[in-house]
């Protein structure tokens, strides 16, 4: 008996999934570098958000063309995975527990199996066409959001590599079916592959069999390679969109969080019974840092946001500051946060598990003040994101750091704040004049 293919398959599977699992662990470790926030309240609302936004693609279709194409690729991705399950079972056990590949054929009635494969073939074709259109939109139509400043060579190539991999996987799947002579002879479910099969008419049966085996192997190895490419690409959204929409914002978008560390200090200042000269109790914690200058100052939800971003740029194309030529791009905020987080993660790996100061931080080295001060906090980016990413919250945390830790607000804003502090209005008017309008 020849078990070598089964053994090779098992090794490929273990290596492929094992390496991916190792990177997922790293990903979770990096996300947990963020400080803790409670994102487990409003559970019914959160499940609803995930069902609607991630599973139901409700925000994707707000832009009908790309939304529709994306729904096809998304459905294809999910449904064709049933076929991958069969491939895995066949790869491990065909020739050992049973003779021929296509194990589902021995379980399901031929008509049901044919129906399943027919739908996979149609979806595979639609996915292929959609991916080609995606490629054309990116590279030929040069849609503006794919050519913004932050879309340097790597993000552009990364996006194209993903499209190429998807095209190749779909072609391999169809070729695999077209060259499976037994499957073609069955003449059930080969709705697309029957038109590819004649291409191989002149070939000998053994050559066709080799092509079939080749396509089968390349298809599954390609899927494993793609799985492992995810971590190194912008494409993690296919997995992280689900937790990200679950942990996304449930409060009204206009509501910004009240910093608890500030609340405690303000309460102390307002409490007449507190003795300002009382000795500090022993072992008090160091005062919290206000706002964020690096990724560790952000929350784990914000870091999850960064890994979820697939750089579609809908946020940036809706941003009023970006539309009017300012440097701010919400997508760049997310890409910078992710890139810095990756850098910090690699630093931790290289230094035996602890972060060694590298003299860099998210503020200034990645995100400049000019970008931060261009934001109007209008929430257009938050609204536009198809997977509930909140770039605005990161901008706000960094403004807080600039103002409260560095007193580095623009001069005009300092004037405004001085006015609020002294006379309860952003302009130098006397609070005693607040009702003068009624007599004017």
């Amino acid at each position: 008996m020849n078990y070598i293919p089964n053994i090779l398959f098992a090794i490929a599977l273990i290596v492929g999934i094992g390496y991916f699992a190792k990177n997922v662990k790293k990903l979770i470790r990096n996300i947990k570098l963020g400080h803790d926030v409670d994102a487990n309240d409003h559970k019914p609302q959160r499940w609803k958000n995930m069902a609607k936004i991630a599973l139901g693609q409700s925000k994707m279709v707000k832009r009908p063309i790309s939304g529709f194409l994306h729904v096809i690729v998304y459905l294809g991705f999910i449904i064709i995975n049933i076929e991958v399950l069969e491939i895995i079972i066949d790869g491990l056990f065909a020739g050992i527990l049973y003779e021929d590949h296509r194990v589902f054929l021995s379980i399901l009635p031929q008509s049901v199996y044919g129906f399943l494969i027919a739908s996979f073939e149609i979806l595979a074709t639609l996915v292929f066409v959609s991916v080609v259109v995606f490629w054309l939109r990116r590279n030929t139509l040069k849609i503006k959001r794919f050519w913004a400043n932050e879309m340097t060579s790597w993000p552009k190539n990364d996006a194209n590599y993903i499209l190429y991999i998807e095209m190749v996987l779909m072609v391999l799947f169809l070729v695999m079916n077209a060259t499976d002579l037994k499957f073609q002879a069955m003449n059930s479910g080969n709705v697309i592959s029957q038109f590819i099969a004649p291409l191989f008419n002149g070939f000998s049966e053994s050559t066709i069999h080799i092509i079939e085996r080749g396509a089968w192997w390349l298809h599954i190895l390609g899927i494993l390679a793609f799985l492992n490419y995810l971590y190194f690409s912008k494409h993690l959204h296919i997995l992280l969109a689900f937790p990200n929409t679950y942990f996304g914002r449930v409060e009204p978008q206009g509501e910004f969080d009240n910093l608890e560390s500030v609340t405690n200090e303000v309460k102390m200042m307002m409490d007449p019974n507190i003795d300002p000269f009382a000795a500090q109790p022993e072992n008090t914690e160091a005062p919290a840092k206000f706002g964020a200058s690096d990724v560790q100052d952000l929350s784990w939800v914000q870091l999850l946001n960064a890994y979820t971003c697939t750089e579609c740029g809908r946020c940036t194309s809706e941003c009023p500051a970006n539309q009017t030529g300012k440097k701010l791009s919400p997508r760049k905020i997310m890409m910078d946060t992710r890139d810095r987080l990756e850098e910090v993660g690699k630093n931790i790996d290289a230094n035996g598990g602890t972060f060694k100061d590298d003299g860099k931080q998210l503020l200034n080295d990645y995100i400049t003040k000019e970008e931060l001060w261009a934001c109007t906090t209008c929430n257009a980016c938050v609204e536009a994101c198809p997977v509930s990413i909140d770039p605005l919250s990161i901008i706000m945390e960094m403004r807080r750091y600039l103002v409260m830790e560095q007193s580095a607000a623009p001069l005009e804003l300092n004037n405004m704040m001085t006015n609020v502090e002294n006379n309860g209005a952003p302009w130098p008017y006397n609070q005693m004049d607040r009702l003068n309008w009624k007599n004017e």
Partner: protein, 263 residues
């Protein structure tokens, strides 16, 4: 001719041992900005017309802290918030109406966590409820058949999902409501939010208020309706920048309704 409006304060109400139906939170723009003061007065006239028992805080009102918070100064925001909450709670305020979406959002969403929970309404919501209760009638008057486009304030629309109340009021004027290219949840900001009102914009190739005004001009309105004093200023400036003052007026919804009735 005296223009004095009857505007009772909470202090006066307390002295008489009475509690008003609603507190009108005027806001800094509504108190001090010449353009916004007209909106404040128009709204007060409508409150009188509908026999609403209201009061203001007057000299006891202070900035909600919104611009400080959005600028990143959480300290100043919370100091303002806690001070205001003390005043509001001392007067046992239950219901607040304001013509400023920034004040509205801050008091409604950010004060509860600091000890101040009230029922807060934007003035367009409040006017809509007066209409529904039959306490206020709206006539088209001079605005009948006029082309009006509504500019969604970010902190009313996206911030708090309120898109319909202002639009229903405009429709009640028998006006022709036209929508801009970006409207409702995709409405383009006027450029004033997030404390931008108080500083120059960062370098770019256009002012945001001009970009938004261009979107409005595209639908050829006679009036751009606003629901926020900041948007009102920005859109007015935008119309001036495009030399369209003689053709397009920028007006708050409260002004539209008050003017339609010659109040």
């Amino acid at each position: 001719m005296s223009n004095t409006l009857k505007v009772p304060t909470m202090a006066e109400y307390l002295a008489e041992g009475k509690q008003p139906e609603v507190l009108f939170w005027v806001g800094c723009m509504g108190s001090f900005d010449d353009r916004a003061k007209k909106v404040t007065k128009a709204f007060v006239k409508l409150l009188h017309r509908a026999n609403v028992d209201f009061a203001v805080l007057g000299t006891e009102e202070s900035c909600t802290g919104d611009p400080a918070k959005r600028a990143g100064n959480e300290f100043l925001f919370q100091m303002q918030a806690v001070t205001n909450i003390e005043v509001l709670n001392a007067y046992e305020i239950k219901k607040i109406v304001t013509a400023c979406p920034h004040c509205f959002n801050t008091i409604k969403n950010e004060y509860p966590g600091l000890g101040g929970s009230y029922q807060v309404m934007h003035h367009t919501q409040f006017l809509k409820s007066l209409l529904d209760e039959g306490r206020l009638t709206i006539e088209g008057g001079q605005f009948k058949g006029k082309r009006i486009t509504f500019h969604d304030p970010c902190y009313l629309g996206r911030g708090n999902d309120i898109y319909e109340a202002p639009r229903e009021l405009i429709r009640k004027l028998d006006a022709e409501l036209v929508e801009m290219k970006s409207c409702k949840s995709r409405g383009l900001c006027c450029g004033a939010g997030g404390a931008q009102m108080f500083k120059d914009a960062e370098p770019g190739n256009k002012e945001i208020n001009v970009a938004r005004t261009e979107q409005a001009i595209d639908v050829k309105p006679e009036i751009i309706a606003a629901g926020c004093p900041f948007c009102n200023t920005m859109m007015t400036d935008g119309v001036k920048a495009k030399d369209k003052e003689s053709e397009i007026a920028v007006m708050d919804i409260a002004e539209l309704i008050a003017n339609a009735q010659d109040l």
